[in-house]
Symmetry: C2
Subunit: 392 residues, 2 copies
């Protein structure tokens, strides 16, 4: 696997587990810690690849489950792979779609061979196996690809999670065995729910197989934040120093910074782009909602210190007006701002790790940044999870 | 009015009434014939001002009625006017909103003073007068502004149109009388429905008042295409040579080229951007719909000869996929393509007029370009007119 994405660890924070490094991929160098905007269906919602790149993004995520259903893997292969299809010539990570199969699709039947499910779009029936998911990802041609895993719900019992874990481990081995291309880095996904014993088993088993990188899956799916952080901390500590660590589905500023402190290198989440389309914009003091009447009078940009296209070009009152009129440009401008905020945050985090000032940067950031109220967050998350199978 | 937009007629086609010229405005020179993309609410739907400019657009249209209701004229004045508000630093024309008041708003009461109506957004009651509409447009600060007119329906009787015309003429005089700023060009709007006698009266009366430019209003509102062209031809011939002529609401390629041949210099229409969001894309052979199954396999761009961002960057299958997923990026890419198509068409028309080859350009364009079937067009237009008060 000499041509596939490799990881260089450049510096570890002396006061925390935070690490700065870089991923060398066939489509460019990706500085870590890094956040990947989500382009499940082959587009970061509302944005062109040019805009995503101008924001400073070095890698995006796409989803094998979504692309398999629409437009289908052969259609993408025919135009020369996912990079060409999307018009994105930097690094791409494809998620296997395990999480989507277990959260979006209906009538699932999981067997040892694989999973039979019905499409959330048209109800058509499909069988996905570990072997197929690797074949699909090899056709798509992303720089980093993921094993197929069985995802538990955050409130599943120990026994249920344990059974899913055995299957996840078997599938990971099978994925590794059938990989043919040597220019794609295959990452394993550590599961085990909220059970430290199972997380430990999973980390030990998967690291023994020597994957190119390790993801932590099954978090940020409805459990309280302190649980997310505790499981992240425990699991990250069990993973090898010299391999990248990817925390799946985490994307709020406070969670990113907290997880970097626990040793995470890679993040992805639809949160920054999804909340943008609802008018929620990141500022260094916390999230604001552009639809609030306050902004109907504000001549300044949302964040006068922000250097994104939106803040450089438009007043808050203009953005407020666009949301008020449900004008699509508003969703774009908000998306640009939120991705720029997260991208800038990642740059500052990395700079602070390299400078040896990460801990004080983290403390000062968290002192001014007011996270969304935990109760509100959980109920929003629940609502979103429930609406997903209807509304993606 | 020495600082306001002036018009230089550069060349008239020897074989038709087609003219090439330029509008000199406080925000740049606008080559004519010109098509103005519609940004009723202060944004060309889905696009940033940067993108609109990169397409080659020199002037956009915004709508006083829409902006008066949302965000309100004072909000725009407060940030320094419409150019600043929109982030568009080239020329702007504001329509008075006469047509919108008469087609979107409900419970209208027209009196000699002005018109009382209820907002199509929240039902609130408003009075608009000719004096107010000029005051609003002076606050907005567009380069070209329009008088308030009373718009008839395409099937109104002679007597009804005649009464509306008397009011329109009175309002035009009042608009002219109260204009204070000398850096905005005020255009009159010739009305008179489909009645040659009334069109003639209107043209004669309004040209006697010496406006900076003349629009032809009350067309392309549901009447057959040959009527639109006949009234355009008759009316344009009654207008002074040295003033710009603006045909309101016309925007299909075949109508633009046919109307240029009849002496029109300025066009605006939401058609190219509206149909783009429904997946209808202009090509030199006619409109295609990207949602058709044909495009699910097409690796080439929509139009391999087109140099727009969409065609330079993406395959037809990608665009098809985005529409299939209702991904907002698809609406943007289609909008970019259609505006680029029209903008390129205007450039070719102008080049041909200056070269003395307009008639042969027109014939060869119309020979290959297959317009939308007239029956389909009329029924689509009707559906759209009916849905507007709900759906803008």
């Amino acid at each position: 696997m000499s041509n596939s994405a490799t990881f260089h660890l450049l510096k570890t924070c002396p006061d925390s587990k935070a690490r700065a490094g870089e991923l060398i991929t066939p489509h460019g160098v990706v500085p870590t810690p890094v956040f990947l905007p989500v382009g499940s269906q082959g587009a970061v919602k509302t944005l062109t690849p040019e805009e995503v790149k101008n924001i400073g993004v070095a890698m995006v995520l796409a989803n094998t489950y979504h692309l398999y259903l629409r437009p289908g893997i052969p259609a993408i292969e025919k135009v020369g792979g996912l990079h060409k299809f999307m018009g994105w010539h930097d690094a791409i990570l494809t998620d296997s779609g395990g999480y989507q199969i277990f959260s979006l699709a209906s009538l699932r039947q999981v067997g040892d061979d694989g999973v039979v499910f019905r499409s959330h779009i048209d109800g058509s029936q499909h069988l996905i196996t570990p072997e197929l998911i690797i074949q699909f990802q090899e056709s798509l041609g992303a720089d980093i690809i993921m094993v197929l895993d069985e995802c538990s719900a955050h409130d599943d019992s120990f026994e249920k999670v344990q059974r899913a874990l055995a299957r996840t481990h078997n599938w990971a081995e099978r994925c590794q065995r059938v990989q043919k291309r040597n220019d794609q880095a295959l990452y394993a996904i550590v599961q085990g729910g909220v059970f430290p014993e199972l997380r430990q088993q999973s980390a030990e088993f998967l690291t023994s197989l020597e994957f190119a990188g390790y993801a932590i899956g099954g978090l940020s799916i409805g459990e309280p934040k302190e649980v997310t952080l505790a499981v992240t901390e425990q699991t990250a500590a069990l993973l090898p120093e010299d391999k990248p660590r990817y925390l799946m589905g985490v994307g709020s500023p406070e969670d990113i910074i907290g997880s970097v402190a626990r040793g995470i290198d890679i993040f992805d989440s639809a949160l920054p782009t999804r909340v943008a389309r609802n008018g929620a914009l990141f500022t260094r003091l916390g999230r604001i909602n552009i639809q609030n009447a306050t902004y109907s009078q504000m001549e300044q940009p949302i964040d006068p210190e922000c250097n994104c296209y939106t803040c450089r070009t438009f007043s808050a009152v203009y953005l407020h007006h666009l949301f008020n009129c449900r004008e699509l440009l508003g969703y774009r401008l908000a998306t640009i701002h939120n991705l720029a905020f997260i991208s800038n945050l990642m740059g500052k985090i990395r700079g602070a790790i390299l400078d040896g000032t990460f801990n004080s940067f983290k403390d000062s950031f968290l002192l001014s940044y007011k996270p969304t109220n935990e109760q509100t967050r959980l109920s929003q998350k629940q609502k979103w999870l429930e609406s997903r199978s209807l509304n993606q």
